[in-house]
Amino acid sequence: MSSIPNIEIKILGLFEKRDSSAIKLIHDAYGRALYGVIFKILGKAEDTEEVLQDVLVKIWEKSSLYDSSKGRLYTWMLNIARNTTIDKTRTKLHKQNSKTDSQDDYVHLDRSSMELKPENIGVKDLTNILKADQKEIIELAYFQGYTQQEISEKLDIPIGTVKTKVRTALLFLKDYLKNEY
């Protein structure tokens, strides 16, 4: 993964030249990760490809707004992917439930949509190797885009603990990846 910075430099150079082949590089380097994020939020394969395409187009449309001094390219794209996907679920759920429910219910996604369904088979989902509390915190911080403040309030733990728990969970995954792959 040490090649990531080089890819980033290339992508940023193409952004600057308004060259849309930047999107091909992003697709090749980060496409599967963004797919995984969208898939985790939707909780199913259906619509994931469509949303990923929307996300790639949005990344291109917003590319002039990215400022590398403020954060990593991946973080910036992750935000676009999360927001686009959550908007998508919200409009979809809203269409289905517009008669009975208010939109406020969908600020964060319903956990029941994360269930394992037949169309999801074939995906490894490494969060499953985590302990329940680690898994929950990763789901919130990574895939649902909660801020540390929101996680701290939701789980009723100090912000410092939120940070160390996320780190411990990811270190556990790192060790697992080292042994398995």
Binding site: I23, Y35, V57, G71, Y142, Q148, K163, L170
Partner: protein
């Protein structure tokens, strides 16, 4: 700072996930520039995060995703040039057809120009309304600030005056100044002195009333005040046997002009 502890706090993980507060985010961005080892760790964590997300994706993505995205990007770029190309690319299929098409296109263009003007005006109106509301809002905020200040002054006064050590001294008119009346509230412990004017004539231009404390026959300056109908705090007075008010040149005098004595009261 201890880089190892900083890394172990987990702050880099939350930085990558975009979960930090804006302030912490700026701090991390700054430290990353100063410490290459932080940057290295950040890239390692990012790689792990990417692997974790990729574990939810198929081995290879459907090619149609990228092809479709690039087509949409291309179409989007063309759309922004569309207005100029539409008229140029009209097919030449007989003169009358072309004329109709040109007339129709001209109408469409005129209509669109008209709509643009209308939309632009609407936006301008909305902007000036927002500006007006913002101004109004800041006026309200200022007024509220003034009210709050007044309120806290009043609150402080009520608190100060309800102190059991406060002595109420009635200053009665001296001969020749009939009708003049004022109250002094003097706290014999904290030494705070307040004046409340019931009735004093409006002072002439360039003149102000001055409050005096008297102790062992000597006058002590307790400060000048204006007639604003409120209870006002004057200078603190250590010892007093009596209080008096004289009319003096604006700003006050070191010793009183007894010919201009208005009211007097003993403690």
């Amino acid at each position: 700072m201890n880089i190892k502890e900083y890394i172990e706090s987990g702050v880099l993980e939350l930085y990558l996930l975009g979960s930090l507060s804006a302030e912490e985010e700026r701090e991390v961005a700054k430290l990353l520039k100063e410490h290459p080892e932080l940057q290295k760790e950040l890239e390692r964590i990012e790689a792990d995060l990417i692997s974790l997300a990729e574990s939810n994706a198929p081995e290879s993505l459907n090619e149609a995703i990228l092809v479709g995205a690039l087509e949409r990007i291309k179409a989007g770029a063309e759309e922004s040039n569309a207005t100029t190309t539409v008229i140029k690319e009209l097919p030449v299929a007989g003169k009358s057809w072309l004329n109709y098409a040109l007339i129709a296109a001209s109408f469409a263009l005129l209509l669109s120009l008209g709509l643009n003007v209308k939309l632009y005006t609407n936006v301008q109106e909305a902007e000036s309304q927002i500006l007006a509301l913002q101004n109004q809002n800041s006026v309200f905020a200022e007024e509220l600030q003034i009210q709050n200040t007044n309120y806290s002054i009043k609150e402080k006064q009520v608190f100060a005056l309800s102190d059991p050590n406060v002595l109420r001294i009635k200053l009665n008119a001296v001969p020749g100044k009939e009708g003049a009346l004022a109250m002094v509230y003097w706290n014999s412990e904290s030494k705070e002195t307040y004046i409340s004017v019931q009735n004093l004539p409006e002072p002439p231009e360039g003149m102000q009333y001055q409050l005096w404390a008297l102790y062992d026959g000597a006058p002590i300056d307790a400060g000048v005040f204006d007639l604003n109908g409120e209870i006002q705090e004057n200078k603190t007075i250590e010892n007093a046997q009596a209080f008096a008010i004289t009319l003096e040149e604006a700003g006050g005098k070191p010793s009183p002009n007894l010919e201009q004595l208005y009211v007097y009261g003993e403690v």
